[in-house]
């Protein structure tokens, strides 16, 4: 029997995928050692009366911080699946009939990276996806202070006809949540669209 080895996209070492791994982490390109370094930590919370959850903590988890930095600031597209893959089955079941709405991201950082990191990070989920928000000003959040972040709602607008979201189950997704002001602004806008249900999901949350 031929044993297929793979090369881990995080540590670059050869590894042999186990049966369990193949079942749970469908199409994974990461070795178990690397996946286990990311610490699963689901947290449930409410924003604007909508149920939200986060999958990893930003603080204390050195690996998750490193990986998100490699994706966002070093433009490493090959790592984008890493966060979702550990929760793939869970997310597929829990949100199977939801439409994914992406939180708005800055256009200039897209140009620098050469890919939309948010779309890439959620590409393993087969849900219908829409880009329903735009930023009226091209600002990168990391350059803002806390007060400016709280005023971010001024710059976020709906990008589509409200009818498109009517009676739909919506899952709003973002990568990192710091103050939550972006998510809040988006949720408030979604609430005006007569959706059937609105939920939020972020990969990493500052606690």
């Amino acid at each position: 029997m031929l044993i297929k080895t793979k090369i881990c996209k995080r540590c670059f070492k050869n590894y042999i995928p186990s049966l369990i791994e193949e079942l749970f982490y469908d199409k994974s390109e990461f070795c178990l050692d690397c996946l286990n370094k990311l610490e699963n930590k689901i947290r449930y919370f409410k924003l604007c009366d909508c149920k939200c959850e986060s999958l990893y903590d930003y603080e204390n988890d050195y690996e998750s911080k490193t990986v998100i930095d490699l994706i966002k600031n070093k433009y490493d597209i090959e790592l984008t699946n890493m966060f979702i893959i550990k929760y793939l089955l869970y997310l597929k079941i829990k949100f199977y009939n939801y439409t994914i709405c992406f939180a708005p991201s800055s256009k200039s950082s897209f140009n620098k990276r050469g890919f939309d990191h948010l779309h890439e990070m959620f590409k393993l989920l087969n849900n219908k996806k829409i880009d329903c928000f735009i930023k009226t000003q091209d600002i990168e959040q990391k350059h803002l202070n806390k007060v400016e972040r709280l005023n971010i709602n001024k710059y976020i607008k709906l990008n589509i006809d409200k009818k498109e979201l009517k009676n739909k189950r919506i899952l709003l997704v973002d990568d990192v949540m710091t103050t939550g002001s972006t998510l809040k602004a988006c949720l408030e806008l979604l609430k005006t669209c007569e959706c059937k249900k609105i939920m939020g999901l972020v990969l990493l949350k500052h606690i």
Binding site: F12, L70, Y75, D76, I77, E78, G114, F115
Partner: protein
């Protein structure tokens, strides 16, 4: 896609490290490094180049310093193998002066941040009218100057930049054996390079000979006195602590600062937690300790009498009258070369060439024996 893709920064060709973005290969091996390059139009302040030395070079230093310059003029690369405390840095001042006077770009790279910080004032003194910049992690705002002193990590900003690049401590972590850092170094050299080492091996010598290079040896310390030969003492954990406390108290009276090396961070903390109960004015320094730069600075100023440390202080740091103890010299983590480096901390200054190096352990390992043999050998052959 380009099947012959080679990373232009780290020269990686191994497909394992390739990623694919928008239908094109990109290199992931050096991805954590910034590829932002410095402005190459910086003009060296040629007229301000003037070398001023506190101590004149010894005969042997002068001899080698000349040979190095001549080799560089002939467009050759150089490896200098010199014992610890030989004054390796001083050997390249003359060449720096020659290059700078011609408006050529020079740099001094080392794997360790602490060494960069230690070297800066020495360059500032030797070339007191020039702008010397130090570049290391979290200290990267200012990148341009007449003389650039930097860690090997920061070479990523200087592709094809230096007419003369010196690399100190070629066998030190993390540079040694690191593919990306090694290629950053070679890629930063536009002209020629000089490598410095206290513990170079046959492979280093072979490599440089293959790369149009010559090797010079300096087996004599600057002050012509012998290297200090370590003394080995057997002892269990507790007796070692007792002995160290007694020795530290004696050093305290004689006003001699001291490093106590431990192989791991954990051991470091443990040993210090005992020592501080008996000997005051000490501190602990390791890669995890915050404020480590401040502690080292304070130690040099005499605020602390002793430091308990891991191998991060094994190289470069020069303190007058320093004495050294190694708590667990028999640890597997120490090889011959690191023990030689540690012993080399002692007796470096012209006015304090004496000192003591004490190794403690349960067994006298091969590394300890080889280290002592090597130091004795160099002392015997220093006039060759």
């Amino acid at each position: 896609m380009d099947e012959n893709f080679v990373c232009e920064y780290c020269n990686n060709k191994d497909k394992r490290y390739f990623g694919i973005k928008n239908g094109k290969y990109y290199c992931r091996r050096c991805i954590e490094f910034s590829h932002e390059q410095v402005d190459k139009s910086y003009q060296i302040n040629k007229d301000a180049v003037e070398l001023s030395l506190n101590y004149p070079l010894s005969e042997k230093q002068k001899n080698i310093s000349n040979k190095v310059l001549n080799a560089l003029i002939e467009k050759k690369n150089v490896l200098i193998s010199a014992v610890t405390g030989a004054g390796k840095t001083e050997l390249i001042y003359e060449s720096f002066e020659y290059f700078l006077k011609r408006g050529l770009k020079v740099g001094f790279a080392t794997p360790r941040k602490d060494v960069v910080i230690d070297l800066l004032p020495r360059f500032e003194q030797a070339f007191n009218k020039l702008k010397i910049v130090g570049i290391y992690q979290n200290h990267t705002k200012e990148m341009l100057g007449d003389i650039i002193v930097l860690t090997t990590h920061q070479l990523c900003h200087f592709k094809n930049y230096f007419d003369l690049l010196v690399l100190d401590e070629i066998d030190a972590f993390p540079y040694a054996g690191d593919f990306v850092l090694n290629n950053f170094f070679y890629n930063s050299v536009k002209g020629n390079y000089v490598m410095l080492s206290a513990t170079c091996n046959k492979k280093d010598i072979d490599n440089i000979r293959k790369d149009n290079g010559v090797v010079f040896e300096l087996n004599e310390r600057y002050h012509k006195h012998d290297l200090i030969v370590p003394i080995f003492k057997y002892g269990s954990f507790h007796t070692r602590l007792m002995k160290i406390i007694l020795i530290l108290k004696r050093y305290n009276k004689e006003n001699k600062p001291c490093f106590v090396f431990c192989s791991t961070i954990y051991l470091c903390e443990r040993v210090f937690s005992y020592l501080k109960l008996f000997v005051k004015d000490g501190n602990v320094v390791n890669s995890k300790a915050c404020m480590r730069d401040v502690i080292i600075e304070d130690f040099k100023k005499g605020k602390y009498k002793y430091l308990v440390t891991t191998s991060i202080l094994e190289r470069g740091v020069t303190v007058k009258n320093l004495q050294v103890m190694v708590f667990d010299a028999d640890s597997k983590l120490y090889d011959k070369d690191s023990l030689i480096q540690i012993s080399g901390r002692v007796g470096r200054k012209i006015d304090s060439y004496d000192g003591e190096v004490t190794f403690f352990g349960n067994v006298k390992t091969e590394a300890i024996t080889n280290c002592i043999d090597r130091i004795n050998y160099v002392n015997k052959n220093k006039n060759l």
